[in-house]
């Protein structure tokens, strides 16, 4: 009980957010029962993108180290399900995938996170290509095949598995935000030297956060593999899966939890609409939206929402926080 009390948000606003989250989760939990199969599958892929962009934001959004390795961890998850899928149930394979993602990310982090700035980004980009070609070589050399058939599962069950990852990730993200670890990450993002100065072991903290952020990505990759049916290295390690979460998080805004969720939701819907209606123009329109978003919404959709909210509040309660114009921060 004491633990629950400690974790529960103390402010009214915090409780409101928590209530909203519970409502959304409850809605998503009964969703497959009332919707058509296609909608359930589509919702699962929205959730998948939300998980990817939240995970990305957890590390890159906070620390400012832009990772393009999402596709690598996603592909690792897919391959683990492809190999283990026929021996163990999906949740078990997802756990194995999460553990594998965590360990591999920790190893990669240990090599690269001592570097600062753009080197890390380039390395993670190369990692996807490296894994893609390495797996291709292994498959051809040792298994004399290019791709693998993945045992497909019941889509409602897969949906619930992804929903579970989503809920766990959200809870973890909320707890992490105000924790010692979360604050240390934020400090690293704002000024790494200062963080080291006040005693943060920056390298260790970065490696741990990077590893933690990879686990849900691999887990969800394992779940989504059952939806694809067949994978080969080009499908599993698809660079688009590295870029999409970044775009979604930037579109939504990386400074709050709602940002990446909103960004993933909107862009997945947009992608779906464009692919179905205007396949030839899909990438053109999508790219244009991104350019506009990046140029005119530096803090993403969440940043716009926040400034509108602050303006409204100032109008309703004039001069209540004279020095806090946009500079205050709720607990």
């Amino acid at each position: 009980m004491a633990f629950i009390k400690r974790v529960l948000p103390g402010t009214a606003r915090g409780r409101l957010h928590l209530g909203a989250l519970i409502c959304v989760a409850a809605f998503l939990a009964v969703f497959p029962g009332v919707s058509r199969p296609y909608t359930t599958i589509f919702t699962a892929s929205i959730l998948m993108y939300i998980i990817l962009s939240l995970s990305w934001t957890f590390f890159s959004g906070k620390t400012g180290y832009i990772s393009l390795a999402t596709a690598a961890f996603y592909g690792i998850g897919m391959y683990i399900e492809a190999i283990l899928g026929r021996y163990i149930p999906l949740p078990a394979a997802m756990l194995v995938a999460a553990a594998a993602g965590f360990l591999i990310a920790a190893g990669i982090g240990a090599i690269t996170l001592r570097l600062r700035g753009v080197y890390f980004t380039i390395f993670t980009f190369g990692l996807v290509l490296l894994l893609q070609n390495l797996v291709l070589w292994i498959e051809i050399r040792f298994f004399h095949t290019k791709g693998r058939i993945v045992t497909s599962g019941d889509f409602t069950f897969v949906y619930y598995c992804i929903l579970a990852v989503f809920v766990i990730l959200l809870i973890a993200a909320v707890i992490m935000r105000r924790s010692r670890f979360g604050l240390a990450l934020e400090c690293i993002g704002q000024n790494e030297d200062s963080a080291a100065h006040i005693g943060v072991d920056t390298t260790r903290t970065k490696i741990l956060a990077f590893a933690v952020s990879a686990a849900p990505v691999s887990a969800v990759g394992a779940a989504m593999a059952t939806r694809v049916g067949y994978i080969d290295p080009n499908i599993a390690f698809n660079l688009l899966m590295s870029f999409m979460p970044v775009l979604m998080a930037i579109f939504g805004g990386t400074h709050s939890l709602y940002g990446p969720v909103f960004g993933a939701l909107v862009l997945t819907l947009l992608e779906e609409k464009l692919i179905r209606g205007y396949q030839e123009y899909y990438m053109i329109i999508f790219g244009a939206v991104m350019i506009i978003a990046v140029s005119f919404m530096p803090k993403g959709a969440a940043g716009i929402a926040e400034s509108v909210f602050l303006k409204l509040r100032r109008r309703l309660r004039p001069r209540s926080h004279p020095r806090n114009d946009g500079g205050a921060r709720d607990e």
């Binding site: 240390a184 100065h197 006040i198 005693g199 921060r329 607990e331």
Partner: protein
């Protein structure tokens, strides 16, 4: 036995040697100043003492324990806090969060609420502004916040690097006054400054660094009358 005892400390960057056999000590309850021009090696010395820059030789002993090979968080737990030049705050975090990070080392994190109350009592203006973002504060307030962050770890000794730099003369005076007050409350201080006259007026003892060596040392006020100090630093 001095509280902080530095012996024959040398350090450098690559082939460039910045510190040469620097020895210095700070007694408990005193304000000791470290003066010198830009590039004399003052900040490098602080970083070397604090484990942020590995010294090539020499020892640092704090309250009878060697600290020159301890990691940063352990040194903070030993009771030294270091306010770097410019404060190095986290601009997009609130006053409260900035303060909390001063208690980051594991041994201190649990008691951060109590320390927060103590710091608010000491520097009430921070308590009034706890939700404000650090970047929206004035230069003097920021320096105060940086001080508060140091005090969060309940240190026995503080290093203040260029506290008055970039502040209006009146503000600089006020900040130095705060140092004096904290010292009266029992805090030992190592004060690094370019502002020679004001510093020598509050310091009990002072070292003057030139090109990586201690060129001169003496009681604070006596140095004000030293011919070399007068010529090189006071422009008399």
């Amino acid at each position: 036995m001095a509280m902080l005892e530095i012996e024959n400390l040398s350090a450098g960057y690559g082939n460039v040697q910045v510190l040469r056999d620097v020895s210095l000590s700070v007694d408990e309850g005193r304000i000791v100043a470290l003066l010198g021009a830009n590039g004399a090696g003052k900040t490098t010395l602080l970083n070397a003492i604090y484990g942020l820059h590995k010294p090539s030789s020499g020892t640092v002993v704090f309250r009878g324990r060697r600290i020159d090979d301890m990691p940063g968080d352990k040194i903070i737990e030993q009771g030294i806090a270091y306010l770097p030049e410019g404060g190095r705050l986290f601009p997009d975090m609130s006053v409260k969060e900035n303060l909390e990070m001063g208690a980051y080392p594991r041994g201190l994190w649990r008691d951060r609420k109590r320390d927060l109350e103590r710091v608010y009592k000491l520097l009430p203006r921070l308590g009034e502004r706890k939700k404000q973002l650090a970047r929206t504060m004035s230069g003097g307030e920021r320096q105060m916040l940086a001080m508060g962050r140091c005090l969060m770890s309940d240190p026995k000794m503080c290093f203040f690097d260029e506290l008055s730099y970039g502040l209006a003369p009146k503000m600089a005076q006020e900040v130095l006054g705060m140092v004096k007050e904290l010292n009266a409350g029992g805090l030992s201080v190592l004060l690094v400054e370019q502002n020679v006259r004001q510093t020598l007026e509050v310091a009990d003892y002072a070292y003057v660094m030139e090109n990586g060596v201690i060129a001169l040392e003496g009681e604070g006020r006596s140095l004000l009358d030293n011919e070399h100090v007068k010529k090189a630093y006071l422009g008399l």
